[in-house]
């Protein structure tokens, strides 16, 4: 009896300790975001006069509507829309292209199959920044500066996603492909009816990762969008910083930062539920 009691007590202490550490960790990470939120709800003079306020002020609507509908160079709503188009375009485009190329590499015996695979694999080693100048040349040559096409297409090929889908396709038993052949499914029918539904959890997980990858692109949009109308939000925040003697409108910039965080959070939260359910549902 006493022993049981002791164990319960001990476990209780353990829970309190772990929770204390977890809460501490959350606070450390959350504090800057909280400061940004506070800064987005007060007036400019309140921010610049030390000490910095730690509790939200009453300027929430004023600051956010100023950010959304007028912004500094361009309304934040426009930048949000541009970012959304770019992130969705990159995520969906990458998924479609990688699915198709992984399917080709795994299921078809064509000459040069291994060469193509290794070529794709090698591009993994080249980050965007390394090839950014030639890519810029190409995009400029096609007249795609300041366009969604220019924002999306150069980033759409993905060795990582292709490789991931290849690894997943290799785990699909050969018998399934053979059963489908006996059932009369042509390759693309097999792809559509069997491979895609079986990959849905991988697709969901990849969509989250790629959406955030696309959303957070900074250098590329900075290079090719000179027209403020085409700015994306992540680079747009930087553009809001004053040059020279202008005064930084910190409440508006902070409101923009908070707004920039919301779509990725929505995607992570909603898709997380989907792919956790997918993981529970799925079986080889």
């Amino acid at each position: 009896m006493a022993q049981t009691h002791g164990m319960v007590e001990k476990r209780g202490v353990g829970i309190w300790l772990t929770h204390a550490f977890m809460i501490l960790g959350v606070l450390v990470i959350f504090f800057p975001i909280w400061l940004a939120f506070v800064a987005s709800t007060v007036t400019q003079p309140e921010i610049v006069r030390p000490p910095m306020p730690l509790w939200p002020g009453d300027q929430f609507w004023e600051n956010y509507s100023a950010a959304l509908f007028s912004g500094v160079n361009v309304p934040v709503a426009t930048m949000l829309f541009n970012s959304l188009v770019m992130a969705l375009g990159i995520a969906i485009g990458k998924i479609i292209i990688s699915l198709l190329s992984a399917f080709a590499i795994v299921y078809f015996r064509f000459p040069g199959r291994h060469v193509f695979f290794w070529m794709i694999f090698i591009t993994l080693m080249l980050p965007v920044e390394v090839r950014i100048v030639p890519t810029f040349e190409v995009v400029a040559g096609f007249g795609m500066l300041n366009s969604y096409g220019g924002l999306i297409f150069p980033l759409i090929a993905s060795a990582t996603a292709t490789f991931l889908f290849r690894q997943f396709f290799l785990t699909i038993p050969d018998e399934l492909a053979e059963a489908a052949r006996v059932d009369g499914a042509r390759p693309m029918r097999f792809f559509w009816d069997i491979v895609i539904p079986m990959s849905r959890t991988n697709i969901a997980a990849l969509f989250v990762i790629l959406f955030i990858y696309g959303w957070n692109q900074y250098l590329w949009p900075l290079l090719i969008t000179t027209d403020p109308e085409m700015n994306t939000i992540v680079m747009g925040i930087k553009q809001m910083f004053p040059s020279g003697d202008d005064v930084a409108e910190w409440p508006v910039i902070m409101a923009t930062s908070i707004l920039a965080m919301i779509p990725p959070v929505i995607v992570v939260v909603s898709m997380q539920r989907l792919f956790v359910r997918g993981l529970v549902d799925s079986e080889k």
């Binding site: 018998e175 053979e178 052949r181 059932d183 009816d193 849905r200």
Partner: protein, 351 residues
């Protein structure tokens, strides 16, 4: 429903020949079991009939027409895979109807056919479940159902029972056989289990190293095995084989003589089935028994033949105790039950 004919069918992967020319004519509605140890090419042969492997030489005729270059779907076959190969994201109903859906049948016809097949296999309550919610035996049935709904000319089974437990295997064995009798569809069934081959086959093909050692009914193969391999592969426990000699119309092995037999004098391989040996105080064979395995209905005795020391297995009906270890026992055998094989070619000596 169709005949299947294999004419000198060969298969090589690169420079390696895996099937060295198989000839067999399968009658309409016949149940053929292809049996052999792993690596003997039996699955490859089946997959060639299915169209999942190319044919290196020879012809495969299904229903009298050459099928070599036809896609699997155009061969009018259905196949049951060892791991069932059910589509994991589809319900039982969708799994069974997928082939028909691709064939472009209207929905109500697909439903009617799927429900007919489900009734036949007692799958009706499971139609809306996913494969992962089914037990091994039920998955097996769904795989069968998927084959049945298409009403193919030929069924192909690739070791369909090897993932099931022993009891279920016996039950499914009977069910498959019963179903095949009812539907009368020509079937090719691959297994490494000689009991399945014995119990299910109309005729069996005993394969070894890419050749057909013997093609015949189970009892033909059991009673007159054409080669040493077939003799030892079919029958459980396996046949005892000894080096012996024919001399003067009897088989001599050490001091023992068994006979009379006909045939020219000279060395010979002597095959004795464990169940044909009988206890006999005056019998010619003496063995020291090392171990006995009482199975209830019969008892397996494992021992060594005196004086050669060759290992011998004897199956006696009923319960026997060996008494003390290494007890000597004597056995005899009816000369009609002995098998003689050529020591070089391994082929049966016809008496």
């Amino acid at each position: 429903m169709a005949t299947v004919s294999l004419q000198n069918v060969k298969k090589s992967f690169g420079a390696t020949d895996v099937i060295h020319g198989i000839d067999v004519d399968i009658k309409d509605g016949e149940f053929i079991v292809i049996v052999g140890p792993s690596g003997c090419g039996k699955s490859t042969l089946l997959r060639m009939v299915a169209g999942l492997e190319t044919i290196s030489a020879g012809d495969i005729l299904i229903g009298g027409t050459r099928a070599n270059d036809k896609e699997p779907m155009d061969r009018d076959i259905a196949m049951v895979f060892q791991n069932y190969a059910l589509y994991p994201h589809m319900s039982v109903r969708q799994n069974m109807g997928y082939g028909l859906k691709i064939a472009g049948l209207p929905k109500d016809q697909i439903n009617a056919k799927v429900e007919d097949a489900a009734r036949l296999l007692q799958l009706e309550p499971l139609l809306d479940r996913k494969p992962r919610q089914l037990s091994g035996g039920q998955r097996q049935r769904v795989a069968m159902g998927r084959a049945i709904v298409r009403q193919p000319a030929v069924f192909l089974f690739d070791e369909p029972l090897s993932n099931l437990d022993a009891k279920l295997r016996v039950q499914m064995r009977l069910e498959i056989r019963e179903l095949q009798d009812k539907l009368g569809i020509t079937s090719l069934y691959v297994t490494h289990d000689q009991v399945e081959a014995m119990t299910m086959a109309d005729r069996m093909i005993v394969m070894n190293g890419g050749i057909a050692e013997q093609i015949g009914s189970p009892l033909e193969v059991y009673e007159t095995p054409r080669s040493l391999f077939a003799a030892q592969f079919i029958g459980s426990p396996a046949m005892n084989v000894f080096d012996a000699e024919i001399a003067g119309g009897v088989v001599r092995m050490g001091t023992a003589t068994i006979g009379p037999v006909s045939g020219p004098d000279g060395p010979v391989k002597l095959g004795l089935r464990p169940e044909h040996l009988v206890l006999d105080e005056n019998g010619p064979l003496e063995a020291s028994i090392q171990m006995s395995e009482p199975l209830g209905a019969n008892t397996l005795l494992h021992g060594r033949l005196s004086p050669s020391g060759d290992v011998i297995t004897i199956s006696l009906s009923g319960v026997h105790t060996t008494g003390e270890k290494a007890a000597a026992m004597r056995f005899s055998i009816d000369p009609a039950n002995i098998h003689l094989f050529d020591p070089d070619s391994g082929l049966r000596r016809t008496a």
